[in-house]
């Protein structure tokens, strides 16, 4: 078998130089956004027992996890999601904490993607979880934090889209059809596949419900969606309650003067088993995938033995990076100064380097023997200044 020691696995890569600097800046801005709102960082293991991600029907698809076997034959998985390990934490080490608990994370998640699609199997995510509070105040705090994340990254052309999983879940409950058919309908709404959705729903008996579901994928846009939806759902008080709630959130968020940035989509139905309340996604113009996604998941922690409500979201740092960095050429930062120590002045030179660092000047220590060699090397590297350290420190420009 040929050995693969010169390549990285498909979906992974090495990160270099300025790409990392830009990514770090994104990470730091998000970290600040979270920390100044009282969120505390947690890091969970890269390797967990597979059961953590697969404790119930709310779990992640097993076939997409990178799996291993531990020394006792138990199945392990590379972290494929961060919310579930955090739920585990809340049920164990954090079980005596005062609620609400505000946590944030910044770590990689791994999943097996379809081959040859150019997807990353290793994705850096930063996100928050607000645990132990199910009020509208908590929903608004998290939504505003999501918006601030994108704003603080100086992204202008973003959209935050809000929906509520309760609309789909309430409607589909009223249909007398099998679980598989319900899942099929959910997928068709998610893909906004109007023709196929109509075909399926024409066959169900509950005509009124079917007519509302048919419209779900089309109910997205601005404020006017609420009027349309309320007219359509007027006979169902549960749905009207949800719509009133969403409209309330929408109007509170419009105080941020971000009209047009916030849109409503009543056809967001991803992970319907997992979410229980509002769901939302963030987009950036010119980038074909969502960069942020989240929602309320009040039943997940129960599966871990701790009945706590929660809401959270994750920002995909790799997607943000790709969306904000239009220049594809990653360069390398060149030091401004090369420091050359004459014989016997090595420690003094290294201390000089430290002083330069305090002045935020990037400097490189010359390991060459002579000054001439140092100058040639600096020229090759494009460094324009040499500090020669002996009794004194002499600066020459080259």
């Amino acid at each position: 078998m040929s050995k693969n020691y010169l390549i990285t696995p498909e979906g992974t890569k090495d990160y270099l130089f300025d790409e990392l600097r830009i990514r770090k800046k994104i990470e730091y801005k998000l970290r600040d956004t979270f920390e100044f709102r009282g969120y505390n960082q947690v890091v969970t293991p890269c390797l967990e027992f597979l059961d953590v991600f697969n404790m119930s029907e709310k779990g992640m698809p097993i076939e997409k996890m990178y799996k291993m076997i531990d020394s006792k034959g138990r199945l392990m998985a590379l972290r494929t999601d961060t919310t579930m390990p955090i739920a585990r934490l809340c049920a164990t080490r954090l079980k005596n904490e005062k609620m609400p608990l505000r946590l944030y994370y910044n770590q990689n998640v791994y999943s097996i993607n379809q081959s040859l699609k150019g997807r990353s199997d290793e994705v850096l995510q930063s996100g928050i979880e607000l645990i132990g509070d199910s009020t509208d105040k908590a929903d608004i705090e998290v939504l505003v934090t999501a918006i601030k994340c994108l704003q603080n990254l100086d992204i202008d052309n973003f959209r935050l889209e809000i929906g509520h999983i309760g609309i789909f879940n309430n409607l589909v409950k009223l249909l007398n059809i099998s679980k598989e058919e319900k899942e099929n309908i959910r997928q068709l709404i998610e893909n906004k596949n109007y023709p196929a959705l109509n075909d399926i729903l024409d066959q169900v008996e509950e005509k009124e419900v079917a007519n509302i579901i048919k419209m779900l994928p089309r109910l997205f846009g601005e404020k006017e969606i609420f009027d349309k939806a309320k007219l359509l759902m007027q006979n169902n008080s549960d749905l009207i309650k949800i719509l009133d709630y969403l409209e309330k959130l929408y109007s509170i968020l419009s105080e941020l003067n971000l009209s047009k940035k916030i849109i409503v989509d009543l056809g967001i139905v991803n992970r319907a088993e997992y979410y229980t309340g509002i769901v939302f996604k963030g987009y950036i113009e010119g980038f074909g995938e969502e960069v942020l996604s989240g929602g309320r998941y009040d039943n997940l922690l129960k599966d871990f033995g701790r009945d706590l409500t929660a809401i959270g979201f994750a920002v995909n740092i790799d997607a943000i990076f790709n969306a904000v960095v239009k220049v594809k050429n990653i360069s390398k930062t060149i030091p401004q100064v090369m420091v050359f120590a004459e014989k016997g002045y090595e420690i003094k030179a290294l201390e000089h380097l430290d002083k330069l660092a305090q002045l935020k000047i990037i400097a490189e220590y010359s390991l060459k023997d002579g000054l001439e060699e140092t100058m040639n090397f600096a020229k090759e590297k494009g460094i324009g200044r040499i500090d020669i350290v002996n009794e004194n420190i002499n600066t020459i420009e080259i």
């Binding site: 379809q114 699609k117 150019g118 052309n157 959209r159 889209e161 893909n191 906004k192 596949n193 109007y194 023709p195 196929a196 994928p217 997205f220 846009g221 849109i263 989509d265 987009y283 950036i284 113009e285 010119g286 980038f287 074909g288 995938e289 969502e290």
Partner: protein, 209 residues
């Protein structure tokens, strides 16, 4: 605003789509005389047309480098992907069918069946539903050859008129699914350019009916 970019599947669907565009009153001059150009524009409409192979249409739309795409349901079923499939355009109609040598009883016997196809995913999904284990052999060219050469027990392929099957002594055992051309939209584009795309879709819907 940058132009709305539409990816068209080259070949037969391309011609039908151009006909549709002409019904909408688009100036299709460039599309008729495209030479070797791969990106064409529709004057006065702020629309760009990209010509691509079927599976690539999906890839371009999925990544959002094209906002919309016209592609056959056959390719969507085979390739999958994440995008909105919002309109059945009604043209490019044909079907997937299970076919094999005329008169043979495909389902008889206990031996594992071998199926030759260009569409392994569609084939797998079809037999998964039946709870039937099969072997799939991927063929790139004329799939009809496989049962004739006795490489496979049957084929799963696109059937339009069925004349190729007939001429080679094959027949349809069972229909798998009907297909036709679909209009697909990138998930983000639909939200970002909602007015423009919904308008275009409404226009298309009105000429389709």
């Amino acid at each position: 605003m940058r132009p709305i970019r539409i990816a068209l599947t080259k070949g037969r669907l391309e011609k039908d789509t151009i006909k549709l565009f002409e019904k909408l009153g688009f100036d299709c001059e460039q599309l008729h005389n495209k030479g070797r150009k791969l990106i064409l524009s529709i004057p006065n409409e702020n629309i760009e047309i990209v010509l691509a192979k079927a599976a690539d249409v999906i890839t371009y739309v999925e990544y959002g480098v094209c906002d919309l795409g016209v592609v056959g349901k056959d390719t969507i079923l085979e390739c999958g992907g994440s995008f909105f499939e919002i309109l059945d355009l009604g043209f490019g109609k044909c079907r997937f069918a299970l076919a094999g040598k005329k008169g043979a009883d495909f389902y008889s016997g206990y031996n594992e069946k071998i199926i030759a196809t260009k569409y392994p995913n569609v084939t797998r999904a079809f037999f998964d539903k039946k709870g039937m284990d099969i072997k799939v052999v991927k063929i790139e060219g004329s799939v009809e050859l496989a049962p004739l050469l006795e490489l496979s027990d049957a084929i799963v392929d696109i059937v339009e008129t069925g004349s190729t099957l007939k001429e080679n002594g094959l027949e349809v055992y069972e229909d798998v699914v009907n297909v036709s051309a679909r209009l697909i939209v990138n998930n983000v584009s639909l939200k970002m350019y909602q007015d423009k795309i919904e308008n275009l879709v409404k226009q298309i819907e009105s000429v389709l009916n």
